[in-house]
């Protein structure tokens, strides 16, 4: 392992410059204004406004389709990580770039650089990729994860992809440095999604990685119908296991899959970390394409126990494995327990698994009024979160078909938005905004409060089309935002449960990681509050430890809740 300061390439330090992206050519300004007017033109009751042009975020994930190879890795697109890399309190945005595929006789797969945009506030972003040392393209990139693996207070990055999954250490001065703590074990592999969370309870975030298949261009299967080539489906390839890496400190990771209890082949496309049975220990949920989804339950010691089938989160409502992709965790029915939301392939409903009071789950898509609503669509990026500030988690689904032309539903599809009316959802896609009235090749997505107005905004990453930034216009009248800081300087509060009263109703939020698709969303938690409140109190259940109440928190601010500084609650 080499430290950040030792051999890293020279990079410019970062100086905030909100005007850096302003155009000096007046003709360009005029064009921009016209385009902006055309593309935004929101209706009065739209929930979201497309602010992509205004924000200065210009980015397109590319999958190499133009080579006409129809390789399996073209299917899934890329992701975004919401990351305050410079710790200035603003949510910055990292996005993977994808890659290139050669069209000549021997297939060469190359990487495209990822990108980092710094948030200067007021929807002004600046591309700081080269300055931050992230402009190299070590792999054909897909998902990404955020975690402070070296516990220095600065969030680090992990980028998944084909041949060269990469760990970037945040040097703390606005730059990143690539490290290779696992040697050859990942260099030839294809990883799709990952999550940082402490599975061995040593306070350091470990890494769990999803893989889709043991694949290479040489093993790629050719699929066609009626003479038309297209991408193959998952059944053309054998799945493979997830991987677990233990963070042993000093920036070293050792493969720990066996000791961690990782087992069974999956076509893994998402790994989410959260305390899903509320026993105080971090669990992992793996969404898999056509093989049963997995639930690894954490405990006081390893191994994790895979209980997807017996807990009722592996299958659809008829007991069949589905093509599972995006995932999120929230309390959709207000019972204080974490429910699991999973987006699925066409001809399948997206799955909502309701948590029961015995640690089990029950398929609740029909109960929630979501049966059939997405059956002719393919869901990728998603979020189950409170977009309209009424305390109930709503649903956003970014749709798009991985198959270019031979599937039942089209390659580009409309996204969806569902409002939660108290445990039952209603389709409000028409009120979503201009983005929701068009079709997209939707893949990765993340949510974050980029403008700190208490409403979660959306980053949508279509494939081969520009990224879209959607500002949430449903800012709550009053709110509080909290960030958790566990004791002993632990960098990771994953598994904690946080609750607050909202007009006589207890709202519960969960510290989760890896939600959305291939992405990492804003880890801060937002609670709407009654308009008349000037202060609020928040209860935190720390993972496997005590509960604390934090009182007298000023509204409309972000509070760092440090374990031990609240008022202990004895049950």
């Amino acid at each position: 392992m080499t430290g950040c300061d030792a051999t890293r390439p020279a990079t410019d330090s970062i100086h905030p410059n909100p005007s850096a992206h302003s155009k000096s050519d007046p003709s360009i300004q005029i064009e921009t204004t016209n385009l902006e007017t055309l593309s935004v033109s929101p209706r009065e009751d739209d929930w979201f406004e497309d602010v992509t042009l205004r924000s200065g975020i210009e980015w397109t994930y590319r999958n190499g389709r133009e080579a006409g190879r129809y390789l399996m890795i073209e299917s899934f697109g890329g992701g975004a990580a919401v990351i305050d890399f410079d710790r200035d309190g603003q949510c910055d945005l990292f996005m993977t770039g994808g890659g290139t595929i050669s069209s000549d006789a021997s297939i060469t797969i190359g990487g495209r650089p990822s990108v980092l945009f710094r948030n200067h506030g007021d929807w002004q972003f600046d591309n700081v990729t080269s300055r931050s040392g992230l402009s190299a393209a070590p792999c054909y990139s897909q998902g990404c994860a955020v975690g402070d693996f070296d516990a220095d207070g600065f969030p680090d990055l992990f980028v998944c992809g084909y041949k060269g999954s990469t760990l970037y250490r945040n040097c703390g001065d606005g730059t990143y440095f690539e490290i290779d703590p696992w040697g050859p074990s990942l260099s030839d592999d294809w990883t799709t999604a990952a999550v940082f969370a402490d599975f061995d309870h040593d306070t350091l975030p470990d890494l769990v990685i999803a893989r889709y298949a043991k694949w290479s261009p040489e093993t790629d299967v050719k699929c066609s119908k009626g003479g038309v080539r297209d991408l193959c489906g998952p059944t053309s390839y054998l799945g493979t296991t997830c991987l677990a890496f233990r963070n042993s400190g000093d920036c070293q990771f050792e493969e720990y899959s066996t000791q961690a209890g990782i087992q069974g082949s999956v076509h893994g496309l998402a790994v989410v970390a959260a305390d899903l049975n509320l026993d105080g220990w971090v669990d992992f949920y793996v969404a898999s394409d056509v093989t049963p989804n997995q639930l690894y339950l954490g405990g006081s010691r390893l191994p994790l126990l895979e209980r997807g089938v017996s807990a009722g989160v592996a299958f659809n409502e008829w007991g069949q494995a589905e093509g599972s992709m995006g995932t999120d965790i929230a309390d959709f029915d207000g019972d204080g327990r974490p429910d699991i939301w999973v987006t699925n392939f066409e001809r399948e409903d997206n799955a909502l698994y309701r948590s029961l009071d015995n640690g089990m789950f029950l398929h609740a898509t029909a109960v929630a009024g979501l049966s059939g609503v997405s059956r002719m669509l393919v869901g990728f990026g998603t979020a189950m979160t409170d977009f309209d500030g009424d305390g109930w988690p709503d649903l956003f689904v970014l749709n798009g078909n991985p198959i270019y032309s031979l599937a039942e539903s089209p390659f580009k599809q409309k996204p969806q938005l569902f409002r939660n009316l108290g445990g039952r959802f209603t389709d409000v896609t028409d009120k979503g905004g201009t983005f929701f009235r068009d079709v997209h090749s939707g893949r990765g997505s993340a949510v974050a409060d980029f403008d700190d107005d208490g409403a979660l905004d959306i980053v949508a990453i279509p494939m081969n089309d520009p990224v879209q930034i959607l500002r949430n216009r449903k800012s709550p009248e009053n709110f509080i935002r909290v960030q958790l800081a566990p004791r002993n300087g632990e960098p990771d509060a994953t598994g904690a449960t946080v609750s607050a009263d909202f007009q006589g109703r207890m709202l519960t939020r969960f510290a989760v990681r890896g939600t959305g698709f291939f992405s990492q969303s804003d880890s801060r938690m937002i609670f709407p509050l009654a308009p008349e409140l000037e202060t609020a109190e928040i209860t935190v259940s720390w993972p496997a430890r005590d509960r604390e109440i934090f009182r007298g928190l000023t509204v409309r601010k972000t509070h760092l809740l440090i374990e031990g500084q609240g008022e202990a609650v004895r049950d």
Binding site: V309, S310, G312, F315, E317, W318, G319, Q320, R347, D349, L356, N358, M360, L362, H363, A364, A366, V367, A368, G369, L370, S371, G372, V373, S374, R375, M376, E408, R424
Partner: protein, 410 residues
Amino acid sequence: MTEVNASPVRINFRRLKVSVCAAAGMIVIAAICWRLSQSTPVQLLERGLAESEHDPVVAAQLFHRAVDAAGGDYPDAQIALCRLLLRRNARQEAAGLFSTTNYSKCRTDLLLGFGRDALRMKQRTEGLSALEAVARHNGPERLVALELLMSDYQEWGQRPKQLQTAESLMELQPQNPQRWADLIELQTSLARESECVVTIQRALTQDFPVEFRSHLQNTLVQQLVNQGDAREARRELENLRKLENDSLRVRGSEVYVCRLEGDLEKALQIVTTIVDDAPDLPFPRFTRGFVLLDLRQFKEATDDLERVIATQPFNAPAHFKLSEAYRGLGNGDLAAKHQRLASEIAGKQIRMTSLLKQRDEDPYDPLIYRELEQLHRELGDLEAAKLWHRWAVRVSPQHSLIPSSQIPGG
């Protein structure tokens, strides 16, 4: 005495007359022979066709001569000869000749005749090729060819080809309700939901009898439910209700529409009326079981689902739903047991689906049929097992001698 000494002049005249007649006869014969030898290929073919019923040998000679007269390439005569060979049970010879014949240029009536005979004589490859060629033409034989193809694909379970044929038949005879029914059934079985909805909507524009319209309307509701389109399903359900009032199937469909709409209380209320009306039918009880499960009435759900399992022990979804109900009751052991059963049964069913798809590609592989037989036997469907056994023997008679232990899944 004088008679003996006849006039020499007179005798010569008579000789002359005989000679002339003989010569004339010879000329006529020669002319006939010449004419025969100079027949056109078409004439030879027609004569051969005329002869083929009474004298196949002469007919064969005529077909050969027709081919020769055409310079060695005369598909009509070649196909006629193929058919003749088949009728004489010279299958190999017929197949050999057929493989070298450019039958796409052949008269469709001849090709149809050959195709029909070939299927009857178990020369399936040649028969299908001939009939498919006929079906590509817009002649009067197309309908019969399509019907023969449909029947064959159905028998051999080749559903994608069956679907194409059904589409052609429907376009050819849109006034025939059976054509629409066949097509809709195939689209349903192949999960072509979107196409199926369009087909039904087109069928409903035809002037069909009420009973058939009712059937179409009910299928349309089911397809819309499958697509998850609650609003359209409700609209079409109300149209169905106009035709049938609150019949059993109207109520049955409404349960699913209500569930799509998220109105589970109403779904429960309706399905309970069906269970009351038909207490011995497992399907309504199964439906009520999972609606009760939706409503987290776990005990009531187990009661219904246990009764379903008692009559349908290989109903995988019922086992799965029962496992969910037991999970809700906190009975992990029973939940695990029914989960395991559901997985085992579903695994077999998935395998059967996969085998049927394989059969679409290669209907002559006896191993497919033996495995299907075995799987059906394991799932308690002995009738189906017998059916697949017969197929295994049909495609490979010696296969009846192979012990089950050598068969995958056996």
